[in-house]
């Protein structure tokens, strides 16, 4: 724990805050391109956020303090999570604060408060969004943890820097268990970040909304914080996937050359992952709510298979 590691920590949070909208913009751009629509470029999310920050806040008459504090909590917790995941270096002073299990539960705080805010105004939409979000989350969370447990059994740890170290800097072994866990993780990723086939971030069609239904009543800086946090969540889930399943390139120390390489590698990996996400999204159709049980059930089964193969093969 030296000064340099604190600098890395600060740099990492800066990258998170600055690059998350760009990544979200990139995903949107690629999606538009694949679907033959015109696109606004990867800087559009920055313009969206800054416009929202400039606007006045309009709050319904009976909104309580829960409604007003939620955007800040959502933003705060998301930034905090971003400080824990090894992005370019595993030498993070803050990473020991929470291991992967705690990380999953930190996301649960975000969800808990967003769902409460959805119910605070007392509209049918808000309640509907909260109810659906909590239902889906209760199916996605076990699948997510099962995928993570598989990795943690293979690496003998639940601490993220250690996982990165074992997989990225240990000897290269082909692990079938990790392949299954990766598939499960991608399915959970799509669910948690609210993308097709689970939810559609681009729609306000009332019957299919989940996440958008909860935050329908937000405006101005509140909405800006929530939108920004949503982009960071996409960024974090992607970098978490990279850190756990494909950590090669993440610097083991605070060496500047290694850090620059890590940054360059990340700048290649993330856009590629974005393209993969878009391909999946474009290839699938939005599912009915009650078909999601099968989708998340199969994610859970895949993770279980991964664990089975760990105990049988490894």
């Amino acid at each position: 724990m030296t000064v340099s590691s604190y600098i890395i920590e600060a740099v990492q949070v800066m990258i998170l805050l600055a690059a998350a909208p760009a990544f979200a913009g990139w995903v949107k751009t690629v999606k538009c391109r694949l679907q033959g629509r015109t696109y606004a470029g990867i800087s559009q999310p920055y313009r969206d956020i800054s416009r929202l920050f400039a606007k006045d806040v309009i709050v319904a008459e009976n909104a309580s303090w829960i409604f007003r504090i939620t955007p800040y909590i959502v933003f705060g917790v998301t930034v905090m999570i971003g400080g824990i995941i090894p992005l370019i270096s595993i030498d993070l002073p803050f990473a020991a604060t929470a291991d992967v299990i705690a990380l999953v539960m930190l996301f649960a705080i975000v969800r808990f408060f967003t769902a409460l805010a959805g119910m605070d105004i007392g509209t049918a939409f808000g309640g509907m969004g909260s109810s659906r979000e909590m239902t889906i989350a209760s199916l996605a969370e076990p699948a997510m943890l099962m995928a993570i447990f598989t990795v943690s059994l293979a690496t003998n740890t639940t601490s993220l820097p250690r996982m990165v170290h074992v997989i990225g800097h240990g000897e290269l072994v082909l692990r079938p268990s990790l392949a299954f866990a990766l598939l499960a993780y991608i399915m959970v990723h799509l669910t948690e970040t609210g993308r097709v086939p689970v939810d559609n971030p681009a729609t306000h069609l009332e019957l299919t909304m989940i996440h958008e239904a909860m935050i329908l009543e937000y405006s101005g800086r509140h909405l800006a914080l929530i939108e920004w946090a949503g982009m960071m969540k996409l960024f974090i889930f992607s970098t978490l996937g990279i850190a756990v399943f494909c950590p090669w390139g993440i610097a083991p120390s605070a060496d500047p050359a290694a850090l620059l390489t890590a940054l360059a590698v990340l700048a290649v990996k993330l856009p590629l992952l974005g393209i993969v996400l878009v391909l999946i999204e474009t290839g699938l159709a939005k599912m009915r709510l009650f078909r999601l049980t099968e989708f998340l059930g199969s994610a859970f089964m895949l993770a279980t298979l991964g664990m089975l193969s760990f105990f049988i093969l490894e």
Binding site: V77, D99, F112, S131, E141, M146, N156
Partner: protein, 693 residues
């Protein structure tokens, strides 16, 4: 009563054991105080609950010191059976449970001052206070008892006094029925516990003398596996019935909601924990050596209770019933910890067993705090609205800001969200699960992570359930038919009780290393391993149960980190003068929004009810209410939904039917005519003369 043979430690101004005895007398003092000042209602309430509060505080101190010093003190009271005087003992395990009981009883006593004053004027409060103090003393004695006979007397004292407390509002038939069910299950359980003690006592010292009934004799005996298994299974059955483990949970969601809320808080928060105490005492202290499948049974029972408990909770719309089902869930989580500890112990892995045991016991403490808090909050809501049905609530956050904020702390804690306490114990349980490869048994190694996934499912469903509980009760608009103006905030004593519980939840969440360091003596004594040296190796901030490379968690950092970012974001956004415009709710141009159009408790749980519907017995019907002009356009619909526990139909209904059937058959003997009864006597005498003569 005479105290003799005190071998206590001589440190401090008062040894913990004496403190515990003093607190016992103080807890019983309302038996005299309350009837004496029955004329002055408020005085009786203040004096009695102040006495129980001080008694609880003394209990906490006694328990804390006993655990801290690791001393065991015992005493013999020359009372009871001729050959079997009452034995009392305060060891670290008893001390830990004294702490759990005392801490919640302290908060609940404070809360009760305001709560009991709100009882209708016509109702006798002396009866309530008398049974309340008997109940508290009963729980303390259960933990302090050191022989089977005294243990069972204390156990019965606890059960009987809580029966009368559940029956307190006995003008309602529902309450009488629930209390009766509670009494029946409690006694079936007590019989099993009695038999279990009988088996152990017989093996300890034969059946010739009562000496085998002392816990000391049971502790020093080695048992043959077969009899040990019999004793264990009987004890498990008995304690599971009291703890509400599925499938013996049926009384719990009936009895807890109808009791006054301060009693529900104590019953749910700490009375159930006496069963956990019983299981730990018998398994880890008396039997000690056992095959691994004992732990397997406990683990599976725990998993089933956890998952089904939370699913049943999600289906409830009665706030206190929902909380009662959550007690089933949390007892399940505690049993998961104990089961893991037992499995690790039987494979001779003391360190891992210590981790699992600490997880289970930590959750015992945590659950007492947050469940007590939640029941107190539900009591405040009940007090203010006169309503337990969540479908008739909503928007209470505006009328009851304190209660709602404190209830929210309870919700966050029980939903296992960091940085509050529920998370710490669940995290430790997860860590224990993930150490399964150490068992070197592939089958167990695989089943363990599956168990962990079920625990994850439980946690996620609990979060959903408490979004529902808090959202429907406190947020949105008032749904009730009664006017909202009647609703008022709880008085200061009730708020103080809840606030202290909430602060404890928070402290237990951010200071786990200190707590584990304190209670580490328990796993050292019971499993032969401790985790405090590894858990607190990097200072009080970092919880590292096995090793830093393995896993670490710092609740304080999580709290400070979130707080810092929130503050910075807030300050940056409020540098310039900002405005918030309040406008009416957006109604999509419909203009006829009513509070009944909000999502309510039933609709919130609908998706989960559909996904897990096969676990329940659901009857759902929609009928059109007259007048119907056209079948396709009904003006008004009536929706009826009935979700029942399947276990009632599988297990209890057949037994109840059989009992009624037998009773009817036997009942034919009763003719109500004296001639017939004389014939019975005559025939009996003839038969006796023929066979015995």
């Amino acid at each position: 009563m005479r105290n003799s043979m005190l071998h206590g430690s001589k440190d401090g101004f008062m040894p913990p054991f004496d403190l515990a005895i003093a607190s016992l007398f103080l807890a019983l003092s309302p038996l005299v105080l309350a009837p004496c000042c029955a004329q002055f209602r408020n005085l009786a309430i203040y004096l009695s609950f102040a006495a129980t509060a001080v008694a609880s505080l003394a209990t906490v101190c006694a328990g804390f010191l006993a655990v801290r010093h690791g001393t065991a003190t015992s005493a013999v009271l020359e009372m009871g059976l001729p050959d079997l005087p009452f034995h009392l003992r305060l060891d670290p395990l008893a001390g830990f449970f004294l702490c759990v009981i005392g801490l919640l009883a302290l908060f609940v006593s404070l809360y009760s001052i305001g709560y009991v004053r709100g009882f209708p004027a016509g109702r006798s409060i002396v009866r309530f206070i008398v049974f309340f103090s008997l109940f508290l003393a009963g729980m303390l004695l259960v933990v302090l008892a050191d022989d089977a006979f005294f243990f069972l007397i204390a156990w019965e004292m606890m059960a009987a006094s809580s029966y009368f407390l559940v029956m307190y509002e006995d003008e309602k038939a529902e309450n009488r029925k629930s209390a009766y069910l509670y009494l029946v299950v409690a006694h079936i359980g007590a019989i099993a516990i009695l038999l279990s003690f009988g088996v152990m006592a017989g093996l300890a010292n034969g059946f010739e003398s009562f000496q085998g009934y002392t816990f000391d004799a049971m502790r020093t005996t080695t048992y043959p596996v077969g009899w040990a298994t019999a004793a264990f299974l009987l004890a498990l059955f008995g304690f599971a019935a009291k703890a509400g483990v599925i499938p013996l949970h049926i009384w719990l969601p009936e009895a807890h909601p109808v009791a006054p809320s301060n009693v529900s808080a104590l019953m749910s928060g700490v009375m159930l924990k006496t069963s956990i105490y019983g299981i730990v005492r018998i398994v880890f202290d008396f039997l000690k050596v056992y095959p691994w499948w004992w732990g397997g049974i406990v683990l599976v029972l725990g998993l089933v209770s956890a998952v089904l408990g939370v699913l049943y909770a999600l289906m409830q719309h009665d706030l206190k019933r929902l909380l009662a089902y959550h007690s089933v869930e949390n007892i399940g989580i505690i049993l998961i910890g104990l089961g893991l500890a037992m499995i690790f112990t039987s494979f001779h892995l003391p360190l891992l067993a210590a981790l699992a045991l600490v997880a289970g016991l930590y959750h015992t403490l945590n659950h007492a705090m947050f469940k007590g808090l939640l029941f107190m909050g539900a009591g405040a809501v009940l007090h203010a609205t006169g309503e337990r049905n969540m479908e008739e609530m909503g928007g209470l956050i505006h009328r009851m800001p304190w209660t709602s904020a404190l209830f929210l702390v309870g919700c966050i804690s029980i939903a296992a969200l960091p940085p509050f306490n529920g998370f710490v114990s669940e995290w430790l349980t997860f860590q224990a699960f993930l150490l399964s490869p150490a068992l070197q048994r592939p089958v167990l190694g695989l089943l363990f992570p599956l168990g962990a996934a079920l625990l994850a499912l439980t946690g996620a469903l609990a979060a959903a359930c408490f979004v529902k509980a808090f959202g429907v009760t406190f947020l949105g608009h008032w749904r009730g038919h009664a006017p909202l103006q009647r609703v008022h905030e709880a008085d200061w004593t009730m708020r103080a009780g809840m606030a202290l519980a909430a602060v404890t939840c928070f402290l237990l969440g951010i200071l786990p290393t200190l707590v584990i360091d304190w209670m580490d003596i328990l796993p050292q004594r019971l499993t032969g391993g401790g985790i405090a040296t590894s858990a607190g190796k990097y200072g009080w901030l970092w919880l590292t149960p096995v090793a830093r490379e393995r896993a670490s968690y710092a609740g304080f950092n999580v709290f400070v980190g979130i707080l810092a970012v929130v503050l910075v974001a807030w300050l940056l956004l409020h540098v310039n003068k900002t405005s918030v415009r309040r406008v009416p709710i957006w109604d999509c141009g419909f203009e006829k929004l009513t509070p009944r159009m909000q999502y309510n408790a039933t609709s919130f749980a609908m998706p989960i009810r559909r996904i897990f519907g096969f676990l329940f017995r659901i009857r759902e019907e929609v009928t059109a209410v007259e007048p119907v002009r056209h079948p396709a356009y009904p003006v008004k619909l009536r929706y009826r939904l009935r979700v029942r526990d399947r276990f009632w139909y599988w297990l209890y209904q057949p037994v109840a039917d059989a009992a009624f059937f037998t009773a009817r058959k036997v009942g034919r003997l009763q003719q109500g005519r004296i001639q017939v009864y004389l014939i019975y006597s005559f025939v009996t005498i003839i038969v006796l003369l023929v066979f015995l003569g």
